[in-house]
């Protein structure tokens, strides 16, 4: 067997083998979606569109499901999951926008302006950071950042002003987004740095030889040419932020609450809980059929959004092909 692998394969056989493997993967993905969708069906059937709405306290609705029987009544499925969906979108969007701005500047600095000695240290460190398990970030968040925010940033006056609605304890939007940014930025930096290095040297030199300064040459030529990689980095970062469960469960405050921007500065301290964190927290009470269907429904939403993300990334890259940028 091994000997056969070592021999040069005819192209046709290699093509057929790889094609078969790819098809198997594709079939598995489709099966997974079908499976999750079928399990989630009751939750959508009984709620209709109000599943995506914001009726009642979502935490109470979920708690109630835990105690429903093996043959749940239609009413047992009642949920308005908007606060969880909103929390997912909010944390992801804020983290990715903030992380992208930071990653772009950092990558440009590393590639164009950092002295070589610094570059030799920074690049491996960034790669290392990209590989740190998220639970460690969660731990640092809960041990360091949360007390810091609670003691120094949230005044007791602010706590009292909202005490009948929600309690502010330091866990919440701010810490969740900050740690998400720390978590996803290294990956984006690593991808963008590689892409900037891969930009043909001639383009950059061509721009410089026309009397454009290094900063502008970087933005107008190198970063432009690296746009497909930047899009890929954003898609990957979104996927990681969307799917982050443990860390967010630790530092988000874990409340089915929708932070409201009109609360002013209080907004950033308000607790919340995204879908993925909800799934890990409720996975142990999945014996109740109503609960099970609801958790599968959350999973289907996440699955669907990563598909949409990949598709959006693919579509966004298409116009760039035209001008000869490698996609």
């Amino acid at each position: 067997m091994l000997q056969r692998l070592r021999k040069p394969w005819p192209d046709q056989r290699a093509e057929r083998t790889l094609g078969a493997l790819a098809s198997v993967v594709l079939v598995l993905i489709v099966l997974m979606i079908v499976f999750v969708a079928s399990k989630a069906m009751p939750a959508f059937q009984h709620n209709g569109l109000s599943f995506f709405g914001s009726g009642g306290d979502v935490d109470r609705q979920i708690d109630a499901m835990v105690n429903t029987g093996a043959k749940p009544a239609p009413g047992d499925y009642t949920i308005g999951a908007w606060p969880l969906i909103y929390a997912t979108l909010l944390t992801t969007a804020l983290a990715v926008v903030g992380g992208l701005a930071f990653a772009l500047l950092a990558a440009v600095f590393i590639v164009e302006f950092a002295p070589p000695s610094l570059r030799r240290v920074v690049v491996p460190v960034v790669r290392l950071l990209a590989a740190v398990p998220s639970v460690i970030y969660g731990l640092i968040g809960i041990l360091v950042l949360v007390p810091l925010v609670n003691d120094h940033l949230i005044s007791s006056g602010r706590k009292q002003s909202v005490q009948y609605v929600i309690s502010l304890t330091g866990t919440g939007l701010l810490v969740a987004v900050v740690i998400l940014v720390v978590m996803i930025t290294p990956i984006m930096i690593a991808i963008i740095v590689d892409a900037l290095y891969a930009v043909p040297k001639g383009w950059r030199e061509g721009a410089l030889a026309l009397g454009v300064n290094r900063w502008r040459a970087m933005w107008t030529v190198s970063v432009r040419a690296a746009r497909p990689a930047i899009i890929a980095a954003v898609v990957l970062a979104c996927a990681r932020a969307l799917g982050e469960a443990i860390m967010l469960s630790m530092v988000s405050g874990s409340k089915g609450f929708a932070p409201n921007p009109i609360d002013g500065l209080t907004f950033i301290f308000e607790p919340l809980r995204p879908l993925a964190a909800t799934i890990v927290e409720d996975a142990d009470s999945i014996n109740a059929p109503a609960m099970s269907a609801t958790v599968y429904a959350f999973a289907l939403l996440l699955l669907f959004s990563s598909l949409v993300l990949s598709l959006a990334g693919f579509l966004a890259k298409q116009p760039m092909k035209k001008y000869g940028i490698r996609v």
């Binding site: 070589p116 383009w203 030199e205 061509g206 026309l210 009397g211 432009r224 001008y323």
Partner: protein
């Protein structure tokens, strides 16, 4: 621009089909062709026989000095790539830089607009003057707009033809000018580079879909758009076929009246056809500098004789 009436010109510039392999001092084979199809020239390189056709445009008197290199040396780390070179670069003339591979031609050229500063190990000594002013005293971006460069490999940006030519114009402006504001300059630059007639139907086409020769002319147009005073060309034809080469050589003839041009070439016939002056470099040293006829027909140094002799003897 190649009008029909000029077609015979192009053909004259095309290399004749006879090729010989000449081995230079560094044992690098160079494919060379006799300079002119003319049988008189092929028999002997006497100064009298050498002229006719292609070099008839030559001016008698040298133009004013635009750039001056004064004891210019460049080293990469401990390796000296250019050694104490002093040269004038004159307005309205083409200076052809020749020499075996690795002798420092590219390095010399890139020093003129301070592109060598991008190489961390490169160090420069000696002075370079542009209109009497030391280039180190100029803002590097201002210098590079006055002394523009065309590279060996055509390097159009991954944008449309129009955006390529407009690039430097837009970057130069304080506020990004709209399409209409730069259009006249873009079209003018494309005309001067002899590309306009071939691309005028669709300037929004991606530049990278052009042929190699068209891409190189686009790069020339891009450099011309900001109206440089000196144009540096590093083997601009080495990636091109004979016909595109002829088109670019003709373009150089047309541009020589408005600019000072320095061209690096491995093709001795090309140096002969386009150069007013020729500088021969060897291992970083400037061995010979003189009028083209003199360098090719009656070189002073033995090294030059060995190098150019093979091509004409």
């Amino acid at each position: 621009m190649i009008g029909n009436e000029e077609t015979h010109d192009v053909e004259r510039l095309l290399p004749p089909p006879i090729k010989r392999i000449v081995v230079d001092e560094q044992l690098q084979p160079t494919i060379v062709q006799p300079p002119v199809a003319d049988p008189v020239a092929a028999t002997g390189p006497s100064a009298g026989a050498v002229r006719a056709g292609a070099r008839a445009h030559r001016r008698g008197t040298p133009g004013p000095e635009r750039m001056t290199l004064d004891g210019l040396s460049v080293s990469y780390g401990t390796k000296r790539a250019v050694n104490e070179v002093s040269l004038p670069i004159r307005q309205g003339e083409v200076l052809a830089l020749i020499g075996p591979s690795g002798c420092g031609k590219t390095t010399l050229l890139r020093t003129l607009n301070r592109l060598t500063e991008l190489t961390p190990t490169a160090r420069r000594e000696g002075r370079i003057l542009l209109d009497g002013q030391d280039v180190d005293e100029l803002e590097v971006t201002a210098l590079r707009r006055r002394v523009s460069m065309v590279f060996q490999q055509p390097n159009p940006f991954p944008m449309s033809i129009f955006d390529n030519v407009a690039y430097a114009l837009r970057e130069q402006a304080m506020k990004r000018p709209g399409k209409a504001a730069v259009e006249p300059q873009v079209i003018d630059a494309l005309r001067r580079a002899g590309l306009y007639d071939e691309v005028k139907d669709d300037l929004s086409r991606p530049a990278l879909r052009l042929s190699g020769g068209q891409q190189q002319r686009l790069c020339i147009a891009r450099a011309l758009a900001v109206r440089p005073e000196v144009l540096l060309m590093d083997e601009p034809c080495s990636a091109l076929d004979p016909r595109s080469t002829a088109v670019i050589e003709e373009l150089i003839q047309e541009l020589r009246s408005e600019l000072a041009i320095v061209i690096v070439t491995h093709n001795l016939q090309q140096a002969y056809r386009v150069g007013d002056h020729v500088a021969f470099m060897y291992l970083g040293d400037l061995v010979e500098y003189g009028r083209t006829e003199q360098v090719f027909a009656a070189p002073r140094a033995q090294r030059t004789r060995d190098y150019v002799g093979g091509a004409f003897g």
